[in-house]
Symmetry: C2
Subunit: 268 residues, 2 copies
Amino acid sequence: MSVIAKFYARAAALNSFVCVGLDTDLAQIPARFQSSTTPQLDFNRWVIDQTAPYAAAFKINTAFYEARGSAGWVELEQTIAYLRANHPSILTICDAKRGDIGSTSAAYARAIFDHMGFDSVTLNPYLGRDALEPFLSRGDKGCILLCRTSNPGSGEFQDMPVGGMPLWLWIGEQISRTWNGRHNCMLVVGATYPKEIERVRAVVGDMPFLIPGVGAQGGDLEATVRAGLTPERQGIIINASRSIIYADDPAIAAQQLRDDIRSIITKL
Amino acid sequence: MSVIAKFYARAAALNSFVCVGLDTDLAQIPARFQSSTTPQLDFNRWVIDQTAPYAAAFKINTAFYEARGSAGWVELEQTIAYLRANHPSILTICDAKRGDIGSTSAAYARAIFDHMGFDSVTLNPYLGRDALEPFLSRGDKGCILLCRTSNPGSGEFQDMPVGGMPLWLWIGEQISRTWNGRHNCMLVVGATYPKEIERVRAVVGDMPFLIPGVGAQGGDLEATVRAGLTPERQGIIINASRSIIYADDPAIAAQQLRDDIRSIITKL
């Protein structure tokens, strides 16, 4: 089963498109976890076990583990190992935004896909397809490529007009036409730009979108869901990180997001 | 002293623009190191001590450490600690190609600049300036932004025409005009494209270039040096990784590269 099929099976079973982002920042987790010898792992296990009934995917942002050095890297490994052992049907995303020349990308692919066993990874397309081939060639894994990012200034280069369209749309189309021979590509499009999600959807067929920005970043959920869905009512992986994991009750926050998405889809 | 001034002081003292790239791949290091319990650290110390007399900079490629998981991350930390303790006058570059939204970039900046203490980091500009502000705001550190990468397919998006010029040139110019308020920016331009190095140099003033691609990737050293030098005969950080560290004698390989660059400059 491809990792995209794995995501859709889980999404259908739960009627959920929610991805829980484990952006676990030591400074922001509750005090009772901060005093642990493995604070990020303990916090993650607590969040994972509560939110798993509503989660079609978990996304781990490597930055917050690297910030603690090798100690954080150990807990990153322990977190993905915990997910694989206890929730093997949930898509795992390594949010690392990798992108380097081929020999270096091969080392990153080993690290993320083989050593840690993530299902998928976020990638930066700026270097071009040849550089990312060690990821793209892995039909057993997923490649989630930055298209239109959610930050306020993302238009600085992404909006540059090329060939009669903005660069982000050109890149999305090029990926869908020429990078996706193994049907393992997905795109990152930010919920802070729902009109642009709609334009990407119009040119890339049914490729799944990883959509950050509905929580702390303030993206419009209804506009996002409407813009991102495929005609088959699939194609969206809606990520929320801070708004779920730092909620008083992460389970309720995840359930609420699942239900909000459901009711938007039901109304269509 | 800014990290760019640190590099120039070292370069002047040694009459060298050589950067030694520690792309330490466990599968490629000599067997006597592979059997160590800290193989990457031991190999790196051996390479560093031999090549330091010719090295104005050391560049550590994080991928090859991540490929071993947390054990590799420990040896990455030990390697940068070794450099800081034993060779504090040599510029250190974390070659990690980072680029994410602001809150995530802040975590990476903590990891790379503060936790590990690197002088500088390579960054991907695709997300725009606001996303990289946690790096750019650090006047005490260096930000080395991808402009024209050395891989064969780098033109796929980088060559797209925008505003009457290729995207790589637009990005280089934009960085020099609007991102470099703290005079801490540098650019990555590949030695595999010397004509393009010349075009970037013509628009960005004296900003230093980190230039990969002269070793195993086959870039033309003479054309590269001529294209990259500023009128003051500065501005180039010439990286070689595999061709130095896997040479039978890394010291001779580093010295040879230093001397080859010197004689090209002397002839000008």
